[in-house]
Symmetry: C2
């Protein structure tokens, strides 16, 4: 049969489905009725080689698990191994993103889809989690992803139920969080966001890949990550990260500026502790051109007083100048955080990530999510760096951020299954200008 | 001398400059007094190898040309050939971007800086043009670029005078344009934006690289590009492009959806003519899996009536869903447009760009900027594709968009040096949802 005839047949046979695909009017929102069995999804499946086209056919997937709604051209699924151009590609990975209609995601999703994060032979599926309110915007995001024609982006689905969207996720990038409303106390914020992350932890536990890597960006991200991992007992606690990479990047830039060198000469910068104003950008272990920072920058007053403040206040300064929070550089730092886990860490260097403290060699209290220096072999996993030094100044500041995280932990005990919450938080330490 | 001592010396010697760099408080805005000679810029110059650090030194550049203000860490300039990691890199290129504080740029600049456009061995300088009103926001953008630590991004400067910002530009991406205000006629819009692009054309002519490649994104982009090139007689007219790549990408996606194939199977799609509702997405020459579209999609009514409308209305639909215009996919299409000029076009395929019609083989009136099918050897240049076919339907629609562009040209004759403007524009054909 000539290929042209084949296409005619396709058009006749699947005209109703195709008109759905092209008009998008029949998009149906699934409400989250978790325990109900779903009708089997009918999906168009298409296997195409460069020489010959094959008909898309409906496939009864026979998969009782629920899936979020696929979008437009991404409802086509392919046997990538059947195509000349794609048969050497890796196996498709599923990347779930919450807060997918927000500004950070609007930068991040296009970076993920372009291949700059996972590489040019890694096809990806994006699973976008939004809210009832943002569902229209999510469709807009999916449309823009369609119009971008990224070859590696093979599936996009959107939904508002984390149990559907997190299905088989290999990565979960948890960006969505409620920003603080007027008059809201930090304890309220911890509680309201904590509930979101408890729910998402449960969903990940139930439906994600059991080795899913989770990066929590929504603030307060350390304690949100703690809540999330406590609600996902089947997923290794080691797989959860709270994003402190933007702080690390900002610290590197400030050290570079002070030393009058380009930022690529700054290495071994650790952010210790909480992603808050108690965070500790470590200039004791940091290096410039391989030389300890304290030997390069002799201005101790600047290092001990101004440096940390400049890192912390960066977000606030930016909001004043730019009028919105730093979505672009935040998304770059998420890319950096992922890349640090999927590519080997350069010899002698490390990166910061908020990770679970169980078994840490630094004497930090166990059972919290604390930013510490990590190295990776590029397999998605990490190990804590052993050869770091401490002095009294560094130790005392680490104690302070540790105390804050322990207080936050007590404040969300009702969400981590550790009893009744007691909120004795010290003063408000949200980073200025960050959601 | 030990490297550490060297750094101490640097810190003492250049403390005033460095404190400027780190506080950014002394940022001084230069007003556009074009003919006045500038005091020689003192710039920090730093050459660093991985083994040994060299002192930044002030260099009197002895260059009477004015430069826009460098920003923060990007005020350091390097001898890249002196560094182990960078000595195999290509020569730094200057990329000027107008409307740099806007949303399209906020996506685009980070793509340029990451290396995904020009490649991993191409260091770049970004020269950001804003307005008096957006200067603070521009600083915010520069700060976020600093915080992103892109190794290839070696210089960032910001300014509000195109004669400064376009200095030595190898690429000029002209995104900034005035959106239409309430009650503004299309003729008013052509005039107000035309004046901006006449000025920018003059500036490019005076100070940019004489082989600068110019991509006009600000609408109405075809006629803006025409005005720009007419005001830059020393730059080859062939170097000016009006962006119709987003239209091409959208057309490919709609054809893919209709045929039930993935978008990477669609090739040879031309957008003919104006980036307006008279644009002609060409399904006569387009192919799916190498087969003419008309043999694959037999629904002629859809091709002739719905297809073009779907491509045109996409921006408007998106605005309704997403609440803003399509900044992310527009910036992706700008990346595509640049890449199409700096990488060889795949065998047998082509891309669309709005280019000057002088010497075109299609019988299109000379002296306008018209989107046509192009191929490139990857040297930044292009040639028009010869083997395209026409039928009466395609020809008649090309005539219509040609008539519109000729009317627009008459309407801006006062800006192209071709006499007195006569505005007899047909009905309003701005694309819905686009600025």
């Amino acid at each position: 049969m000539a290929v042209a005839d084949l296409y005619t047949k396709i058009n006749l046979q699947y005209s109703s489905k195709l008109s759905y695909v092209s008009t998008r009017l029949s998009y149906s929102r699934r409400v989250s009725l978790r325990p109900l069995p779903q009708p089997h999804n009918s999906r168009i499946c298409c296997s195409v080689t460069s020489k010959e086209a094959q008909a898309p056919v409906f496939v009864n997937t026979e998969d009782p698990k629920k899936k979020p709604d696929c979008y437009g051209v991404f409802c086509l699924t392919y046997d990538l191994t059947a195509e000349e151009e794609t048969k050497t590609w890796k196996k498709l990975i599923n990347i779930a993103v919450s807060g997918a209609a927000g500004m950070i995601s609007n930068h991040l999703l296009f970076k993920l889809a372009s291949g700059e994060v996972f590489g040019p032979d890694q096809p990806i599926a994006l699973k976008l989690l939004g809210s009832e309110r943002s569902l229209q915007a999510l469709e807009g995001v999916a449309m823009e992803l369609e119009d971008s024609l990224f070859p590696l982006l093979r599936e996009v689905s959107i939904g508002i139920d984390s149990y559907e969207v997190f299905q088989d996720a290999d990565w979960a990038l948890l960006i969505g969080a409620k920003p603080r409303g007027p008059g809201m106390e930090r304890a309220d914020l911890l509680d309201i966001n904590g509930q979101i992350f408890a729910e998402q932890g449960k969903a990940l536990n139930a439906v994600a890949s059991q080795n899913v890597k989770v990066i929590v960006v929504g603030n307060p991200c350390n304690t949100n990550a703690l809540i999330c991992l406590k609600n996902a007992p089947n997923i290794p606690a080691k797989n959860f990260h709270a994003l402190t990479r933007l702080d690390e990047n900002r610290a590197k830039c400030q050290l570079a500026l002070k030393a009058g060198v380009f930022y690529d000469k700054v290495s071994n910068v650790t952010i210790w502790g909480n992603h808050s104003t108690t965070q500790v950008p470590d200039f004791l272990n940091a290096k410039i051109n391989g030389i300890p920072v304290k030997e390069v920058i002799k201005d101790t007053k600047w290092l001990e007083e101004e440096f940390t403040e400049m890192v912390q206040k960066r977000g606030g300064v930016l909001i004043k100048k730019w009028g919105r929070s730093s979505a672009a550089s935040t998304s770059v730092s998420i890319v950096d955080a992922i890349r640090s886990l999927v590519t080997p860490t350069p010899e002698g260097d490390w990166f910061s990530s908020g990770v679970y403290t169980a078994g840490n060699p630094y004497g930090i209290e166990e059972g919290i999510v604390f930013s510490m220096p990590c190295r990776s072999k590029g397999d998605g996993d990490y190990e804590l760096v052993k050869d770091v030094i401490f002095d009294d100044f560094l130790r005392s500041r680490i104690k302070k951020t540790e105390a804050e995280l322990l207080a936050e932990k007590r404040c969300v005990a009702h969400l981590t299954g550790e009893g009744i919450a007691v909120c004795d938080l010290p003063g408000d330490t949200m980073l200025p200008g960050e959601m």
